[in-house]
Structure formats: structure tokens, C-alpha cells
Symmetry: C2
Subunit: 754 residues, 2 copies
């Protein structure tokens, strides 16, 4: 067990590295050349012009104003400066609510930390169990003296811990309730204050049954004319344009290469650039690169046009799904919430996602398939969670010195060197695991895609659930109980269920130092690295050097990135869980977690203001998931505390704790009933209010024209290649007159549509 | 362990008692005096007139036609004679679907029994484990030779059992799927073919929020005028008439006593009957009975009138709930399925139950209360299931000889007699338990009422769920594992989870004979007793003697009873479970279960045709529950089989069985998605079709008048006392011209309303 001194050293190291990252960030962000890496959001909004136009030659790339370096931390107060309503307007509700998760962590754990230090630390410190048993147990430290380990078995002092546990749970639930209420209100206000959006009028209809006499389109038209006669307006069938989308993507890549070689030629006009026709431009015949890519692009353009015609005219290219639009929001709300026919597996209606949120590939999956896919993915998820070590161990056993020598004989002499050999032997297994963990979110996302969700936001939420399960079993339980997840599973089955919680519970105090170190490395230093954006920085400069010719190209080379909910939210949940588990056991962990939440809040608030650009806006539909997972962590912590206390000679008073998980679960059910529907359904009253308002303000609105192209597959939108989709909204109704907007308005009329 | 011989004796005894019941029934039902006990349904329908009017003096009471006794079993084919569509028309869909549960049992277990006898019995019989181990285990019988106990440990023969288990599960799921499909279609056809009914147009709105400026009624009117402008028609507020209902009930009892004494006086005019004013007519002053009750009734009539005025005029008597009616079925379907406002805890809408299905007391419970009540009742149900023996043991310990002597000293000498003492000591504890078990359904129903369901059908379904849990834990597991439910719970917690299934699984073959006896006593003889209707028979003759003066009184004295879903369905589920558990283990049990299902089907088909009169018609909304519980039983049986086999040296091949519960659970989820909504929601297409049809057929229909009094609390209906509510429907639109209908039409106009 680590002593307080060890922890201090570790804290110092991690603090220093965090500070180093922050210093690097502070310096890099002041350089004009990096401006598009650290403030892309403002470029996308069109509010920030290129700084390179107004400086001297050197000043274009390096900031020479020394005074600005002195204020290198002033981004922190700036990040907190923007008020929340403006933040929602600027970054969207999803982002604004996402950073509230960190705020929630602060709200929960700051008071809990104060309470724990006020009440539990003195009780633990004066417990003197570890002093008394000095002769028997030698391995204890000051940290353990502050933890529950220092209280003698069967002591009356445990009542304090039990009382505190109830208090913490109550405080957590109270805070969660208040937060849920606030966010439900924010969501409703957001939806109500929104401008007209196509998805307010539109319902996604899936599983349209085949009809022998009518085409899909006619069938849909007739069905809704009959069953929603007063409200049906129009519909948009969905084309199976996956092949077309692939051609378009390929063409775009070719265009990039074309530009690259043209730039090369421009800089060095004496020599025409050449390339090879084979794989990766390494093998095959040498040809003139510019001509080669020009002909390739022409070819693809022709193919694209053919495919486009084919899709438009082939009735088989229409999938049995459609976006049906209504004359009023009320009509759409009704259709989305009701069952259409007596067979609940056809004519399934749900709210249409935002046009840019649609995941087009999954719109045509039949009902039985969906069920089978869910079953398969559940089983797959089970095996992935509990048995993922098996394939990795297999790969690790293959990726050893012998196999390297076997596959690459020319490396044999190199890998035989002792230093290299040691490095490989120590490094390869870890690398394999690391690669797997890097690919894990992608694997989980693929699994979610197979399950058949129709919106990107749905996919994100689902992947987050899966990732949370994985982290819970393999990171949390895996760190507490030694052994693989599979061994834990075996234990869980072969032991009495109480025994497992006892084992886990009693191990928890011993792992406190490990988790403190984990919080510092993953939480503190990790977040500081986040703000530095090293990968996008490098990528931008590479692109800038090789691909950028015009201002528009530079715009395209920016990679603002986005909050990846499916990866980062489950990681936050781990901190919530650690906080709940250790609050009554080792309160020393709490300050570390409080610092994590505060620092993250600051960093991510800065990032969503200046950097990230979300791909979609779901209106915080993810909050019920966040709420559920915080409560899951809370219930697990309550059960583990019961397990821990029952090993400490307090079997009877442990029974007092049994009410906690029951009440918490009830609280979960209550909140679900009270708030969840605000995130799923659109109430008729709100719809009616908006409809009435709109009718009064714009009596002549032609909704048909407004909705005409809203739900067309992106490859069919003419201006798709020129303009990123995500900024459509802001462009049409900019906050202030911007350079980008004025630039756009000078473009041909047709580009302003979509 | 019982031998085959013992079983045969037991079977003979039970068969004889069943036959005795059937004979008694055959004779009693032919007596004209019992006609109203055994054919009340036909009287209620008005098709059958009183037989007493057309016979000789003796023939009025006793059937003298000897030839009819020879055909004493002819009710059996008669019961099967009525085709199903006519049965639905005659007895309602609830009843017709209820007896299909027995049919489902037959469909599942008849082929399973054949298969089991064809494949498993030979495999078991030739296993010869019990022959070989004769020296060690002496207690085995021929029954065990037919069971899985006869197969040697680790034998390859277990593959046959595993294969058969998969086959049985597949067959069960297949049958369940087909049945679910049929019943969903029956329900939709039933709803579509129905005549106009008030609940098709009506939605129950609960939790109307208070408004400072408007009354509840105005608030409702305004809200729906704004949010459903094209569809809202009218609404009916709900009065808190519980006190009034109590007065009416008291008055009715007084009227009964009045009639009783008038009859007495009529028969013996020489002496005015007297009664005492105190408790139960035993204590207090002597008074003239007829005058006494006349004055009491006058008094109550006055009170009733006052209360009626008070309720009608007091705004506080209006509860924040209402029945809101719409112009079309489409409008009602939309309102019932959508969320009205952004706060999902107010303006809750759901389909209105049938007027006679409404449980009026629960309409005004606020949302948080509902949640708290559910929590409390869940905890209470847990304690009731696992700890019900504690209060009973307490009562048993009080109800002993000593306490009897203490409380009733004058009985001291009597109870000291050895024979009486033995009787009391042996009898009292059993009696206490029996009384508890008789009251159990009432307790469960009260718990369901506290939970706040708004319809009688909902209450029945909920109580059935509770009763099923109780039977599962205390009857099934309690019989298999000795010890109280609480001890089992302790075992379950303290042992590994696999150990518990192993314990239970390995005990199962030993309990086969017990359950065979159980099936014969509870199933065979119990059902035969059901058809005899002993209690209603006695009650009818008592009432007939003391209370009946007019033909209408005799009508009221009939007690047709009804299918009590909340009690009888969970009992059937026990048989399903026994069948599934023993099918792969001791196939000998199956024929007994098949006979039970066949016999019950016959008896209950007869009963719903001739006797029972349902209080409400829910359109088979209970089927999803039945389906779920059959599958629950199936999954439990699959897990127990795994437990059993893993104690028989076949750990590895047992793993093959793990797919069964997973697939079965998936099947449950699939069916839920595929069919359940047919039992919960009313699809818009169907509503639209019916609306269109009605508009074409009856363009001048005034719906407002039709719905005016539909959802008035029963105590406000004028004719309520004279006429049973349940037959309203049939009266208005009788199948054929009946004596009752012609009688009714000669009454004053006002009585034909309601």
C-alpha cells in the first residue's frame, strides 16, 4: 500500500505534466498560424476572419506581442464568461447539457467531500484499529488511518458511516432530481424557442408493408390520406443510395489527390508530378499524376451520374420507409405517438430525427430482423465484456519474437539483440491490448449500427451504454478484484451472491491509492492533453501544407471535432462511481474527484465555445441515460458498502442499509415517470401553441416548399460537396452579420438552399 | 416414495369423488327448483322463463321425468356444441378467451405427453440405475423407474432428455405464438364488430391540475377545446360519491330486512314480527319490526337525498378527473395515446374502461401518491410472500387450549376432555392457515386497490400477478424444497446461485408422486366440485325462502357468479408449470395434467354458457399476462432442469441447455413487440374505418345525447336499484325477443334509460 508520501509524489508528477500541457496550450493558441486549430468554431460561424491577412510576414505565423504571453491563463475566466442561454445558442443544447454533467459531479461531490472530511475522517482517525494491531498487520499507511479500515470490527462507529451513506445517497438523489428538472425545462424551452425546423413536422415511417397494386410512394400517400385526412401534407421516400454515396466519397478522395498534385506542380512548375497506378501509388506504371487523377475524376463523375439516374428511376431502389410530413406540428405529434394499424410491426411511426442526424443505412430493416439483430448483439456484448481477453491473449501469444522471426526473417538479427528483445517482449502484449482498447469504441459503434438505430444520436447513446458496461466490468471491477472478468463471472456464479459483494466490498479500501493515481493520470493529465488538441494540430498543418489552395480549402482542412458522447460520457460515469463507492470508505479520494470535475468543466466549456462543432443536435435526449447510469453507480456503491460492512462484524446493523438500494431504485422509477417522457414525446399542448403562433405570424407560409428537400439523402443535395451540412441552421439566420455570411451572399443563389 | 399402486388407489378415490360430484350435479340440475342456480345466465338473458309456472304442484320442485335422468351426462356434449363466435356473442370475449387457456394447456401437453412417453419413458426404463444400486438405495418404485432418476450418472442417455427439452420448449413457444396471434385477431375482430359503445369515444383524464380561476369542469373544457379543437365533444366530471354509495348500500340492506319481516307477517298474520334495536337484532329494546325498518328506510332515504344534493352542488365533491368524450373514435384514440402537456404527471390520458368496469374510488389519486403506494405495496408483497408464516404461527400459538380456557372459562371442562382436546390441537393450526389462504385473494385484491388501478379488470389482472407469485414461491417451491419461503430465501442468498437450482432441481423427481396426488385432488375433484355450485345452491334456497316475494326478487336472489380471473388463472398457471417441469423428468405426470385441462375445459365451457355472468367485458386484455406467465414457468423449468442435470455428472453437456432460457426470453420480447400493443392501444386505422362506416350509416346520430349519462357514477342512475347494471347492453339490443325484454317494455319509459 502506498503511503501519503507516494501519493504526494504522484500528484506532483501529474500536476506538473498537466501544467506543462496547459503551458504548451497557452503558447500554441496565441500563434496566429494555429488559430484555426484552437478556434475553429468561430471560423465556422463566420465571426472570425483569417488573422493572416492583417499582419506582417512573420506576424502571420508567430505572435510577437509579448504582453499576451503574460496573460496565458486568461482563457479560463473567458471560458466561464459566456452565460448559459448564449452558450446554448452558440454551441447547441447537447453541448451545453453535456458540460452540465461535470457540473453535476461538482454539485454532488463538493458538499459530500466537505461532509466526509468533517464527519468521517475524525471518526476513522480516532478508530485506532491499525495502531492496536500493529504487530499483526504491518502494511498500513496514513491513508488507511483516514479510511474505514482504521475502525475496529463491530464498533459502534459504523453507525456514523451508515448515516453518512444515507445522507450522501439522499443528497445525490436530491441533486439528480433538481438537475433532471432543470434539464427537462431547458429542453422544452429549447424546443419551444426554436425556429421552424423540418423535423417538427415530420415523422419517420418504417416497415411500410408491400402492396401488390401500388408503389411504395402511392401506398404511403393513400394510407396517410385516409388515416390522417386533415393533417397529412406530403412525404419523401427513401432511396437506397449507399452505392452512390460510396462513389461520391471515392470521387472526393480523388479530388483531394488532384489538388495535392496541382499544388505540388504550382510550387515547382519545372517538373510535372508523377504517380503510379497500382496500390497506394507505390506499385504499377508511372503516369502523369495530374492527368491521371483528372481522368479518374471524370470517370467517377460519369459513374456517379449513371448511378444517380438509376436510383432515381429504379422502383427497387426505394426502401419501404419514408419521411411523412404534416400540415401542423400537432398532426405530426399525433402520428408519431400513435399506433397506425392493428399489426404493430408495420407502419411504425416515430419522430423523424433532424435531417443531419439521420443514419440512412438503417432505414429499411424489417421487424423480425431487428429483433434477431438485438438478440445477437446482446449475446455478442456479453462475450465481448467477459471474454475479450481470450482473443487478445491469442494475438499476444502470436505476436512474440519467434513469430516475428518467422514472418520477417530479415529482422531476425535485429530482434535477437537483448535490448530490442526485452523491449518487444515487454511492449508487444501491452500494445496489443492498447490497440484493442483504442478500437473498442469503434467496435461498439459497429455493433450498435447492426442493431438498427436510425439516428446518429441514437447510435451514440447506445454505444455509450455498451461502453459503460465494459468499463464497469473490466476497469472498475477488474481493478478491484484481481483476475479477468471471466474469472469474476465464475466467482459470481459459484459463490453465494452475498459472498461476491463481500469479496469486492472488502477489497475496496485497499484499492484507494490505485484509484487516486488513476484519477490523476486519466483525469487530470488526460483532460489537460485534451485542451492541447495535438492530433488535430498536426493534421491541420499537414493538410495546410499539401492540400490548401483557396480560403475555402483551408476551411475544409479545419477539423473542429466534436464531443464524442459515446466515449467520454461512460468515462465520466466511472468517476461518479468511484466517488460514490469511496465517499463512505476512503474520503481522501473525494478531493481528487472534485478537482477532476472542476477542471474538466472548465476545459470542456472552453472547448465547446471555441472548438467543437457537433454533427447533430438532439436536444439533450441523452440525459435520461446519464441519470440512469449515475443511479446505477450509486446502487452498486450501496451494495458494495453492505458487503464491506458485513465483513467487519456488523451483520445486524448492515441490514439497516438494505433500504438504500430499494429507495434509490424507486427514486429512479419515479424520475423516469416524472421526466423521461419530456425526452421522448412531444406534448400536444406545446405543438398547438407553436402552430397557433406560426399561423398568426406567417399566415401565408408555404410549408410544402419549405419541406420539399429537407429529407433528401445527402448525396442528392446539389451543394453538398461545397458546404458542410452542419452549419445550415446558423447560416440562414446568423446571430450577427459575419464575414462568412457576406461571402456566402455573394455566391450564386442556388447554393443558399438545402 | 409412493409406488404405482399407491397412485392407483389415490386416483381411484379422487376419480370416485369426482364422479360423485358429477352425479350429484346431474341430478340436482334436472330439478326445476334448482333451475335458477344452474342456468342463471339464461334467465339474465331473458331467454329462459320460470319453469315453475307450467308444471303440476310437485313438478314445480322435483323433476318426475325419469327418462331425463338416464341422459345425465348429456350436458357434456351440449357444452361443446356452441360454436365459438356464438359463444363470444353469448358470454363475452373475456370468458371465451379464458377457457382457451385450458385449451392451450391441452394443445401444449397432449403432444408433449405422447412424445415423452414415446421417447423418454423407454430411455428411462432401460436406464437400470435403480436396479444396479438396489443394495444402497432401497426406496424406489416403478414410478422412479420411469423417471430420469433411473438413468445412471454421466450417461449419454441425457442427450435424449436435453433434445426433448429443446423440442418441448420449441413446441410450447410455437403453440403460444399461434395462440397469441389468434387471440389478438379475435380481440381486434371483437372490437371492430362491436356496436357503438361509450368507451370507444371516451378517454379517462386524471390528475387535472388545479386552476385558481376556473372550476375543474371549466378547466377541462377549455383545455380540450384548445388542444383538440376539431374532436372534443363533451366531458363528464367525476363526483366523490363514496359516502352516498355507502348510504345507498345500507338502505338496500334495510329494504331486504323489511321484505323479510313482511313475508314473515304475511305467512303468519296472527303475530306482528318483532326485533330488537341493538346490535344484530339480539340486544336492545323490542320493537315492531316492520314499523322499525320502515322508519329506518325513510330516514336513510332522507339522508340519501341530502347527500345527493350536497354532492351535486359542492365544488369540493368534484375530483380532479373526468371522462372526456370526442366526436370520433379517431379523436379519442389520438387523445388516449398522446401526451398532453410538457409535465407528464398532469393531464394523464388513457382509454376509459367500460362504464361498468370503472373502479370509482381510485380516480383521484395524485401522481406522487401512486408511486409511493406502488413502492409500499411491492415491499408489502415481498413480506407477504416470504414471511406470511410469522403472523400465522403467532395466531396458531395463541389459539391453543390454554388461551381458550383463559378467554372462555365456561368451556374449560369441555376442552379438557381428551377427544375434544386432541381435535382442537390437531385442527386449530390447520384451520388458521386455511382461513388465511381463503382470505389471501381478498388481501391481494385490497393491495391492488391501494395501488390505485382505475378499472376492475386492471385490479383483477394485478391481483392475479400477485397471487401467481405467492403460489410460485409457497406452493411450488414450498412443496419441492421443505422449509418455509423465508428459509428458501436465506438459502438463496447464502448459497451460490447455482447451488440453489441444483438443490431444487435434484429434489424434483422425488416430489412427482406428491404433485400427481395434488393434481388429482385440486384439479380433478376441485373442478367437479366447481360444477356442483354448492354455496350458490344453498344461498339461493335460503334467499328464496326468506326474501323472495315477486318475480323480480327471485331474479335478484340468483347469484350467477363470475369467472374470478384473479384467483383461478394463477392456479391454472401452476399446472402449466408442473407440466413443464416434469415433462423431461417424470413424464408420468403429464397424462394427469392433460386430463385436468380437458376436464376443466369442458366444465368451464358449460359454466360460461349456463351460469356465469361477467361484471365487465375487457376484450381479453389479460392475455399478455397469461402468455408471460406461461413463459415464466417455462423458463423456470428450463433452469431447474439445468440444476438437476448438473448434479448427475453431466456438467459439460448441461451447458448446451443454457441457450434455452435465453432464446425463450428473446421469444417473449419478440411476442411482446409483435402482439402486446393490440391489447393496449387502439390503432388509428381501425378507428377511422369505424368512424367512416358510422357516418355513412347514421349521418344524423346525436352522439351528445348518446354519451350524456354513460359515465355517471352508478349511484346517480335513477333506475340503479331496480335493474342489474351488467345486462344493459343485451337489453338494448336483444338477440331475440325475450320474456324479460317484453316485460321491461311494458314498464314506464323512464326505466329504460341508463
Amino acid at each position: 500500500m502506498a503511503t501519503l508520501g507516494d501519493i504526494c509524489v504522484s500528484a506532483a508528477v501529474n500536476l506538473l505534466s498537466a501544467i506543462a500541457f496547459l503551458l504548451a496550450f497557452a503558447i500554441l493558441r496565441l500563434q496566429p498560424i494555429n488559430d484555426r486549430v484552437y478556434f475553429p468554431k468561430w471560423y465556422l460561424k463566420g465571426i472570425r476572419g483569417s488573422p493572416t491577412s492583417s499582419r506582417t510576414a512573420v506576424g502571420k505565423f508567430v505572435n510577437l506581442d509579448y504582453s499576451s504571453y503574460l496573460r496565458f491563463l486568461n482563457w479560463m475566466p473567458a471560458a466561464l464568461h459566456m452565460p448559459e442561454p448564449e452558450l446554448i445558442d452558440h454551441a447547441g443544447l447537447d453541448s451545453a447539457v453535456y458540460i452540465r454533467i461535470y457540473l453535476l459531479g461538482l454539485k454532488i461531490f463538493a458538499p459530500v467531500a466537505v461532509l466526509a472530511f468533517g464527519a468521517l475522517v475524525p471518526v476513522n482517525w480516532t478508530g485506532r484499529r491499525l495502531n492496536a494491531s500493529k504487530s499483526k498487520e504491518l502494511t498500513f499507511s496514513n491513508i488507511d488511518k483516514l479510511s474505514i479500515s482504521n475502525v475496529p470490527d463491530g464498533s459502534k462507529r459504523f453507525w456514523v458511516h451508515i448515516g453518512m451513506s444515507y445522507l450522501f445517497s439522499f443528497w445525490t438523489c436530491f441533486t439528480l432530481y433538481r438537475e433532471y428538472k432543470i434539464i427537462a425545462a431547458m429542453r422544452l424551452r429549447f424546443l419551444a424557442s426554436e425556429r421552424r425546423r423540418p423535423d417538427q413536422f415530420t415523422v419517420l415511417v418504417r416497415n411500410v408493408p408491400p402492396d401488390p397494386d401500388e408503389s411504395v410512394s402511392e401506398h404511403i400517400e393513400h394510407f396517410f390520406c385516409v388515416n390522417h385526412p386533415d393533417h397529412y401534407l406530403m412525404h419523401q421516400v427513401v432511396y437506397n443510395a449507399n452505392k452512390l454515396a460510396a462513389i461520391v466519397a471515392k470521387k472526393r478522395a480523388m479530388i483531394n489527390w488532384h489538388i495535392y498534385y496541382e499544388n505540388k506542380y504550382e510550387r515547382n512548375p519545372s517538373q510535372r508530378p508523377v504517380t503510379r497506378t497500382g496500390m497506394l501509388g507505390i506499385f504499377g506504371k508511372k503516369v502523369d499524376a495530374i492527368n491521371h487523377y483528372t481522368s479518374l475524376i471524370d470517370n467517377l463523375s460519369k459513374q456517379e451520374e449513371e448511378e444517380r439516374q438509376k436510383v432515381r428511376n429504379d422502383p427497387d431502389a426505394i426502401v419501404p420507409a419514408a419521411f411523412v410530413s404534416f400540415k401542423t406540428r400537432w398532426g405530426a405529434a399525433v402520428c408519431a405517438q400513435t399506433q397506425q394499424t392493428s399489426n404493430p410491426t408495420v407502419w411504425l411511426t416515430e419522430w423523424a430525427p433532424e435531417p443531419r442526424d439521420v443514419y440512412w443505412d438503417n432505414l429499411a430493416i424489417p421487424y423480425l430482423d431487428l429483433n434477431l439483430r438485438k438478440l445477437l448483439m446482446t449475446v455478442a456484448m456479453f462475450f465481448l465484456t467477459f471474454f475479450f481477453m481470450i482473443p487478445i491473449a491469442l494475438v499476444q501469444s502470436l505476436a512474440n519474437i519467434e513469430s516475428i522471426k518467422h514472418v520477417f526473417p530479415f529482422l531476425a538479427s535485429l530482434v535477437e539483440k537483448p535490448s530490442v528483445k526485452n523491449f518487444i517482449q515487454g511492449f508487444l502484449p501491452g500494445l496489443t491490448l492498447k490497440i484493442f482498447l483504442i478500437f473498442l469504441p469503434k467496435i461498439l459503434m459497429t455493433m450498435s449500427k447492426i442493431e438498427g438505430f436510425t439516428s446518429l444520436s441514437g447510435l451514440d447513446r447506445r454505444s455509450a451504454s455498451k461502453y459503460y458496461l465494459f468499463i464497469l466490468v473490466n476497469v472498475f471491477l477488474g481493478s478491484v478484484v484481481t483476475g479477468t472478468a471471466f474469472q469474476q463471472l465464475e466467482q459470481l456464479i459459484d459463490q453465494p451472491s452475498t459472498e461476491f459483494t463481500k469479496t469486492v466490498g472488502s477489497t475496496i479500501p485497499m484499492k484507494a491509492t490505485f484509484f487516486i493515481t488513476y484519477v490523476m493520470i486519466d483525469g487530470w493529465a488526460g483532460i489537460a492533453a485534451e485542451v492541447l488538441r495535438l492530433t488535430p494540430l498536426i493534421m491541420f498543418h499537414l493538410k495546410n501544407t499539401f492540400l490548401v489552395k483557396t480560403e475555402l480549402d483551408r476551411q475544409a482542412a479545419m477539423d473542429p471535432g466534436c464531443l464524442d458522447f459515446s466515449i467520454s460520457e461512460p468515462r465520466i460515469q466511472l468517476y461518479f462511481m468511484l466517488g460514490h463507492v469511496y465517499a463512505p470508505v476512503t474520503p481522501l479520494l473525494l478531493p481528487f474527484i472534485v478537482v477532476f470535475f472542476a477542471f474538466s468543466y472548465l476545459v470542456f466549456r472552453h472547448q465547446i465555445i471555441n472548438v467543437y462543432n457537433q454533427h447533430y443536435e438532439s436536444g439533450a435526449t441523452f440525459w435520461p441515460d446519464v441519470h440512469r447510469r449515475v443511479l446505477t453507480g450509486l446502487i452498486i456503491s450501496q451494495i458494495l458498502l453492505m458487503g464491506l460492512l458485513s465483513t467487519r462484524g456488523t451483520n445486524k446493523i448492515t441490514l439497516v442499509l438494505i433500504g438504500q438500494p430499494i429507495l434509490t431504485f424507486w427514486f429512479y422509477r419515479y424520475c423516469k415517470g416524472r421526466f423521461e417522457s419530456a425526452f421522448i414525446k412531444f406534448p400536444l399542448e406545446e405543438a398547438m401553441v407553436k402552430d397557433t403562433l406560426e399561423r398568426a405570424v406567417e399566415p401565408t407560409l408555404n410549408l410544402r416548399i419549405y419541406l420539399q428537400d429537407a429529407y433528401v439523402h445527402p448525396v442528392f443535395k446539389r451543394s453538398e460537396l461545397e458546404k458542410p451540412m452542419a452549419v445550415d441552421d446558423e447560416e440562414e439566420n446568423p446571430l450577427i452579420q459575419t464575414t462568412r455570411a457576406s461571402r456566402l451572399s455573394s455566391m450564386p443563389e442556388s447554393d443558399n438552399e438545402a
